[in-house]
């Protein structure tokens, strides 16, 4: 296995790894338990302990093994699954079905998700209002908190949000890992510009119609969260689009290409996160002196962020989501997490430690609630 040949420069001793895990241990403990664990519901307590221990183990392993991507991916995928589970069970509890009805729209009860953000911008500027039938504050997935969460994360992590925060990205990340080798290797990377075209179109159509057109017509994740009841031909066409985009871009293509095709070719928020990559301090750097141009990194990059030209030019493109896959696979430790302004090759360990701390804190606290809920529900289900 080629991966075993990698001489990993980020491995730490057991004790040192424990030491690095300690701050995350304390912070996650405070946030998950509120400082005072609730002993009255055993299922909840077990769920909390499992989540807490699991997360800290993953963070420990990132330091102990020196690898990032596989442990990040475990949490990222579990987050995606558990969030869909939580969302669906919430919706089913509220309405006895996975689809939302006209009443939910009229009463503005639709849970908000960050993918709506690009479509809100122009109408908010011109009409001073939000074109989404959700709750501004309070209630499940309200607009204000979701916007704040995304805004802070995208400023701090840039497109790192797409590998360390987005509760949809885990779906195609998961499917892209099912096969060991890709069946389809040649895909033109010009498709990575599609999200920008889609961003332009959805922003304009949403502004013109005052309807979040991406949610209304395109979002593949409707297939795993909630969708409009099929009552006529139009809603049937919409449901067809949601399901085929999910089947094609989130399941089938990631399986055969080992790439995150939905995130690379469709998501308009991904395009905005790509732009915010310009301001975030964290990046991935290539040390030209160490790089032997083996191009292993370009092959594994799931987001078409690293072409051969990029490697030859000694820089990772703005599409990078800082997943760490290329860093893990590089046999010469030439590609590494870095900080903007700091030359490639220097402060490598420091940059990695700082970036992992920031991004892991974000994903662990953000995902904890839904993971705990899911485990608790599963435990309750098993017990009953």
């Amino acid at each position: 296995m080629e991966k075993e040949l990698v001489i990993n420069g980020y491995r730490k001793s057991f004790g040192k790894s424990l030491l690095y895990t300690l701050p995350v241990f304390l912070i996650t403990f405070v946030f998950m338990s509120g400082g005072r664990p609730d002993f009255s519901d055993p299922a909840r307590l077990v769920a909390l302990l499992v989540t807490f221990a699991g997360m800290n183990l993953l963070y420990f392993l990132m330091h102990y093994t020196g690898r990032t991507d596989r442990y990040r991916a475990i949490l990222f995928i579990i987050f995606a699954l558990s969030l869909s589970f939580t969302l669906i069970s919430n919706i089913v509890q509220m309405r006895n079905s996975m689809s939302f009805s006209q009443s939910d729209i009229v009463e503005c009860r639709i849970p908000f998700c960050h993918l709506v953000i690009p479509m809100m911008i122009i109408p908010a500027a011109f009409t001073k209002s939000i074109i989404f039938p959700g709750s501004i504050i309070g209630g499940f997935a309200d607009i204000s908190s979701m916007v704040i969460l995304w805004l802070f994360a995208t400023i701090a992590l840039g497109r790192g949000f797409c590998s360390w925060g987005c509760f949809y990205g885990g779906w195609d990340d998961g499917f892209s890992r099912i096969r060991k080798k890709p069946l389809l290797k040649k895909i033109s990377d010009s498709w990575k510009w599609m999200p920008f075209a889609l961003l332009l179109m959805v922003m304009l159509t949403a502004a013109m119609t005052l309807v979040p057109t991406y949610c209304d017509w395109i979002c593949p994740f409707k297939a795993v969260t909630e969708f409009e009841q099929v009552t006529d031909t139009e809603s049937a066409i919409k449901a067809g689009i949601f399901i085929s985009l999910f089947g094609g871009l989130v399941v089938a293509l990631p399986v055969v290409t080992r790439k995150r095709t939905q995130c690379s070719f469709l998501c308009p928020l991904g395009a905005i996160n790509t732009l915010s990559n310009k301001i975030t301090p964290f990046t991935v750097k290539i040390d030209n002196e160490k790089c032997t141009k083996c191009y292993k990194c370009t092959t594994v990059c799931p987001l078409f962020a690293l072409s051969r030209e990029d490697v030859n030019g000694g820089r990772v493109s703005v599409f990078c989501s800082k997943c760490g896959k290329c860093v893990d696979v590089c046999p010469n430790n030439a590609i590494h997490f870095g900080i903007k302004g700091v030359p490639a090759g220097s402060f490598r360990n420091f940059s990695r430690n700082l970036f992992l701390f920031v991004s892991f804190i974000f994903i662990s606290i953000f995902s904890a609630g839904s993971i705990i809920n899911t485990i608790q529900s599963l435990l309750n289900f098993i017990i009953s």
Partner: protein, 149 residues
Amino acid sequence: MKKIKIISGIIWAFMALIIILILFPGLNSFSVALSKLPFMKINPNFAGGDAAFSYVQERCTLVVRKPVFDGLLSERKHGFVQLDWRGELPDVISDTIDFDRDGGSDFVVNLKRNDAVTVINPLSDLVTGLNVSVPTSYGWTVRVGLKRE
């Protein structure tokens, strides 16, 4: 210059750390602050418009909202007026509405709740027909399509 770049990069990275560290403890207060900004309200096309006036009936209240024609830059040609019945509703509702309060009735709503059948009889040229009729947590809501004068 190189040193300045390195130092500012590292400072920015630490600021990113602080941003994430204050995010979760401060989430509630940040969200409340955001929700108070002038554009943080649901567009009337979804929310149904502000209440214009109400009729207090025997066991329920009928709230008539202001007509909604909101477009991006100007008013649209087609819009709607929303009616909310709140409280304990009778099985059959029949109300005559003068939504613009010009003294002339504009339409009659006939609603049979049990069969979920709603019929709108327009009495004015401005009324185009039924848009939405749904049960809600507070009673029932009907949206009636309108044309702008």
